[in-house]
């Protein structure tokens, strides 16, 4: 690759290239109008994800679970007053107006069944709440608080908070459905708070979560991208000390981002919170290429070269390393296509596109533009290199202690890796600035859990659900689950069956048990089913053939690792106690998210390994040395290992956001290695320097640029820490740590390693340096 010749051509056709670039960017960028924001949490799961499939099967068998949960908290702490109950009653009525609503459940429309002689009365638990007497109120309270279907689900045991749960059936045809529901729901909540200041309303449920995903994407774009630009302008201004150079670099990264986003739009990609961080990441990565070219160019100008000579020299030196780093970075991000979670495919592809675009803009548009813009520099003696020269000397002199210190640190950190536990509590993906998080936290603290495990227990026999053996098994499973710690609520058909059996025997409490005979249960169920009003049928609990029922467990705020352990115990219980047809895994969004990190790590291992092989192969070919290529593995792998170890010590929890960092950062950390090794080898091959002097040469020539780009990369990924979507903020933080460790490894670990391995060559140098080497 002849950078000098390319530079000369670029300078000659500079106007053509500048205009051409702008036209191409506009063409690509016009695809941006197709970009939208996804409003479905299910996008995190590929079509073949087994947990997603299990959950979809469950939803198809019964009814959908997408819901909005209103939690009403009267400030006096009393739900059972005419005032609060009338609000519940009105909201229950009004909730039918929510778009796509399929079912509404509250304490007011709970179908209370009781016996009056041979009469079975099925009625709304609360009617005309305004006119209820104290007697009525205490009767209603007693019924609600003794009803297993309600307590810890729709009413708190202390009766200070109550819920109205609305099931919605989103057709899934447009991305506007969720915002449409949410705007109606929020208006209802606001209306209640406005007309009843004594009641606070909290909103949760899967629909609210879906909406928060798109809000998080939009917020991240709106808030982080400006911070990123500001950070880049300040840093580049300081580093380059040239207005023209800063403007040129800003244009390169801006155009790269526009190109990548526009092409994503043409490809029909919808933004999800992970992919919404793509612009920020592209800005960070794209700047490195420009920095390398501009730093060298300005250096050459300060040494007295003309602008055009400086551009040509800079391109001569930098073209190959920039090409290599761009391709390795792109490979690293493309490896995210192996992830189990599709949003990370989008992120990887968007960023890879941006990186490739940045490469072309940096070697064509940047030199063309800078040759047009006026650039002034003061001719001066070089000062930048002095610190790096001292660092180089230090590393050469202290290579042995450095080697052992770094090795020990690496091992200590890597030994801390197992401290990391997997956790993906999806509510915690959002931080406190999202109402979904604070409202859900309130609901979890005061009303019910948000994490569910559900089973469809199938008898494989029509009307099998009325079999007393089946019902007894359900009851045993329910009792077993209730005994487990951190289980808030268990819902099974047996609660209804026991109540009906009691009702059928004039409300005699001794009959509050499973009916003994199959026909009896079936006929009760038939009677009950014929008594329920619109929208409150049993379709959400029993399948169409009456062969299977839905069994739901609501958990407290447990980590997904705990949840999986509990589910594993449940599986053992099922194996020991039920026929094979009923031994099914739990299914729910919670189950899906509980597996996401592990599946993602496993799938990313494949992609990362392929990327590692490709990258090492590229290094071996370009450095024409197998030894150097293999050696590069150390500084390429150590940083992620150390970063995850430190993470284990600091945080101790890995989620789906952090699980992709190793693969993603590989392509970035390899850049430092490429730049350092290319200079080291050039020193050895072109200047015949020994390993010590080659290290010094590398520090002198590339140390500053590495320091600068690493600083920018660390700052850039640190900007993601400001994201309110913790998946992104943790990914940003961990990547920043990884890049910092990469710089440390390239400065303090790789050189001692090179010198140790090149000992034979350096023996000749030993003589001249005997004073400093013990």
């Amino acid at each position: 690759m002849d950078g000098a010749r390319l530079a000369k051509t670029v300078i000659r056709f500079r106007w053509l290239i500048v205009m051409g670039t702008i036209i191409i960017t506009m063409a690509a960028g016009s695809g941006g109008r197709f970009l939208g924001f996804s409003t479905d949490y299910r996008v995190f799961f590929g079509k073949n994800n087994p947990q997603l499939q299990a959950f979809e099967r469950l939803q198809d068998t019964y009814t959908k679970n997408d819901n909005v949960l209103f939690a009403l908290a009267p400030k006096n702490g009393k739900v059972f007053t005419p005032e609060t109950l009338s609000v519940v009653e009105a909201l229950t009525q009004e909730a039918w107006q929510i778009p796509y609503s399929l079912r509404v459940d509250s304490i007011s429309n709970f179908q209370h069944t009781w016996a009056d002689g041979d009469e079975l009365i099925v009625e709304d638990l609360v009617q005309n709440a305004r006119n209820l007497s104290d007697e009525d109120l205490s009767r209603i309270k007693a019924v609600a608080l003794s009803e297993p279907l309600l307590v810890n689900r729709i009413i708190s045991p202390e009766s200070h908070v109550t819920g109205v749960n609305v099931i919605v059936n989103l057709p899934g045809k447009t991305i506007d459905e969720v915002p449409e529901v949410v705007s109606v729901v929020r208006e209802m909540a606001n209306d209640i708070e406005a007309s009843h200041p004594e009641i606070s309303v909290h909103l949760s449920g899967m629909v609210m979560m879906n909406n928060s995903f798109s809000e998080a994407s939009m917020n991240d774009m709106a808030e982080l991208v400006p911070i990123m630009y500001l950070m880049l302008i300040v840093t580049m201004g300081l580093m380059l000390r040239s207005i023209s150079a800063t403007i040129a670099a800003l244009l390169v990264i801006g155009l790269s981002t526009i190109t990548a986003m526009g092409l994503s739009g043409w490809a029909g990609i919808l933004f999800t919170p992970p992919s919404a961080s793509a612009p920020t990441i592209i800005l960070t990565l794209a700047v490195a290429d420009s920095i390398h070219i501009l730093v060298t160019m300005l250096q050459e100008m300060r040494r007295g070269k003309t602008k055009h000579e400086a551009i040509i020299e800079s391109m001569r030196i930098n073209l190959l390393p920039i090409f290599l780093t761009s391709i390795t970075t792109a490979i690293g991000f493309l490896s995210m296509n192996s992830s189990d979670a599709p949003p990370f495919h989008d992120l990887g592809n968007m960023v890879a596109t941006g990186v490739i675009a940045a490469f072309f803009y940096s070697i064509l548009f940047l030199p063309a533009l800078i040759s047009i813009l006026p650039v002034w520099v003061k001719k001066q003696e070089e000062q930048q290199g002095i610190f790096m020269d001292r660092l180089g000397d230090f590393v050469v002199n202290k290579r042995k202690p450095l080697f052992w210190i770094m090795l020990t640190l690496t091992l200590v950190f890597i030994a801390s890796l197992p401290l990391n536990r997997l956790n993906d509590q999806f509510v915690n993906y959002f931080d406190d600035r999202y109402a979904f998080r604070t409202d859900t936290d309130f609901i979890v603290d005061n009303l019910t859990g948000i994490y569910l495990i559900e089973y469809s227990l199938d008898t494989q026999e029509e009307w099998g659900v009325s079999d007393p053996n089946y019902l007894r098994t359900l009851e045993a499973f329910s009792l077993w689950y209730k005994k487990q710690s951190r289980v808030l609520h268990v819902s099974s058909l047996t609660d209804t069956m026991k109540r009906l059996n009691k009702n059928m025997h004039e409300d005699d409490p001794t009959y509050y048990r499973i009916p003994e005979d199959r026909e009896l249960s079936a006929q009760y169920l038939q009677l009950y089913e014929m008594s329920l009003p619109f929208g409150l049928d049993l379709n959400n609990q029993i399948n169409i053939k009456k062969s299977a029922t839905r069994f739901s467990v609501t958990l407290e705020n447990v980590s997904t690792t705990e949840l999986l352990a509990l589910e594993e115990k449940a599986q053992q219980w099922l194996k020991a106690n039920v026929p094979a047809s009923m031994q099914v895994p739990g299914a729910s969004p919670t189950m899906m998210f509980s597996h996401i990190s592990k599946r993602n790590i496993n799938s990313m291992l494949v992609g990362t390994s392929i990327a590692l092989i490709l990258i090492s192969g590229i290094l071996i070919i370009s450095f024409k040395s197998i030894k150097i290529g293999l050696l590069s593995l150390v500084p390429n792998l150590v940083p992620a290992g150390m970063a995850f170890g430190l993470w284990g010590l600091m945080v101790g929890e890995i989620g789906v956001g952090t699980s992709i960092v190793a693969g993603m950062s590989l392509g970035i950390v390899v850049d430092d290695t490429v730049h350092f090794l290319s200079k080291y080898i050039r020193a050895q091959r072109e200047r015949q320097l020994n390993s010590h002097d080659a290290v010094r040469y590398a520090f002198h020539n590339v140390g500053t640029a590495l320091w600068v780009t690493s600083f920018i990369l660390v700052s850039g990924f640190s900007v993601l820490i400001f994201s309110g979507f913790t998946l992104n903020s943790q990914m940003g933080l961990l990547t920043a740590i990884t890049i910092a460790f990469a710089l440390a490894a390239d400065f303090l670990f790789l050189p001692p390693l090179l010198m140790l391995l090149d000992r034979r060559k350096s023996k000749t140098a030993m003589a001249s340096e005997s004073g400093t080497n013990p």
């Binding site: 778009p99 009677l527 329920l532 169409i544």
Partner: protein, 260 residues
């Protein structure tokens, strides 16, 4: 000006709001005529097969027998006997439908050997877990709705009145129904049901009408499709028998136990 009068005059004749009757009156007229034409069947019996299907074509079948007694001046009395599935065989359901007040309902549970009176506001609820609600299949009394004639339209090659029915019962599951009545025979061919938020929920189609005793039209097949959940239910009517001599005493609490 003379020309104008000639053009406008026909409009006065045909425009229903200006001449003869309002849209509401025309709708009501159609409903009354529909009811009037079926008056006097006195009683009938039939066997029904009900097939419930979900989105994936999973199906479940129930077989029931229906006995209906016409009650002049009030809603019909209906007795339903369950033959299949086996676990509910012998269960019998008795309902006195009324024009405006709540229906009276009893169910006999053979396994419990007791008749239970059901007191609930289940008119909007599902009939035996199907997509049919009670209010869809119970006797269609004129007083249960207010009417609005919308237009005339051809449906399935038949000239139809299209009438909107607004339920009088505040607990109804619907805001409105749109019914296509055959203009010749005054029988419903299709009904669209709109849910409480006025979104299309279900469509009922009547197929294979046959005339009995030279007067009473009955469909052999009714299909209800739920557009929101993708579920559907099919009611197949067989062995219609009219004027079988059923009597009030065949529709009592005690008759339920004997009704095998």
């Amino acid at each position: 000006m003379k020309h104008l009068i000639f053009f406008l005059l026909p409009l006065f004749f045909f425009h229903p709001t200006l001449f003869a009757q309002t849209l509401e009156e025309k709708g009501l007229e159609i409903a009354k005529e529909t009811n009037r034409r079926d008056d006097g069947f006195s009683d009938f019996m039939a066997t029904l097969t009900m097939t419930l299907k979900n989105k994936h074509g999973e199906a479940s079948v129930r077989v029931i027998r229906n006995k209906t007694l016409e009650v002049p001046g009030d809603g019909d009395k209906v007795l339903i006997i369950f033959d299949n599935p086996k676990v509910v065989k012998g269960t019998a359901f008795l309902s006195f439908t009324h024009k405006t007040k709540k229906d009276d309902q009893w169910l006999f549970l053979p396994a419990l050997k007791r008749v239970k009176r059901i007191s609930s506001s289940n008119q909007s609820g599902s009939f035996m877990g199907s997509e049919f609600a009670y209010e869809d299949i119970s006797s269609q009394e004129v007083e249960k709705y207010s009417y609005l004639w919308l237009k005339d339209e051809t449906y399935n090659g038949k000239q139809c009145f299209v009438v909107e029915l607004d339920p009088a019962d505040p607990k109804s599951g619907y805001t409105r129904q749109i019914v296509w009545y055959d203009q010749e025979e005054y029988i419903p061919l299709k009904v669209d049901y709109y849910d409480r938020k006025n979104v299309l929920l279900k469509t009922l189609t009547f197929e294979d009408y046959q005339q009995y005793l030279g007067k009473h039209w009955r469909p052999n097949l009714m299909e209800m499709i739920n557009h929101q959940t993708g579920k559907s239910s099919i009611l197949e009517w067989k062995d219609y028998q009219f004027k079988t001599g059923l009597h009030d005493k065949d529709f009592t609490k005690n008759s339920l136990k004997r009704a095998r």
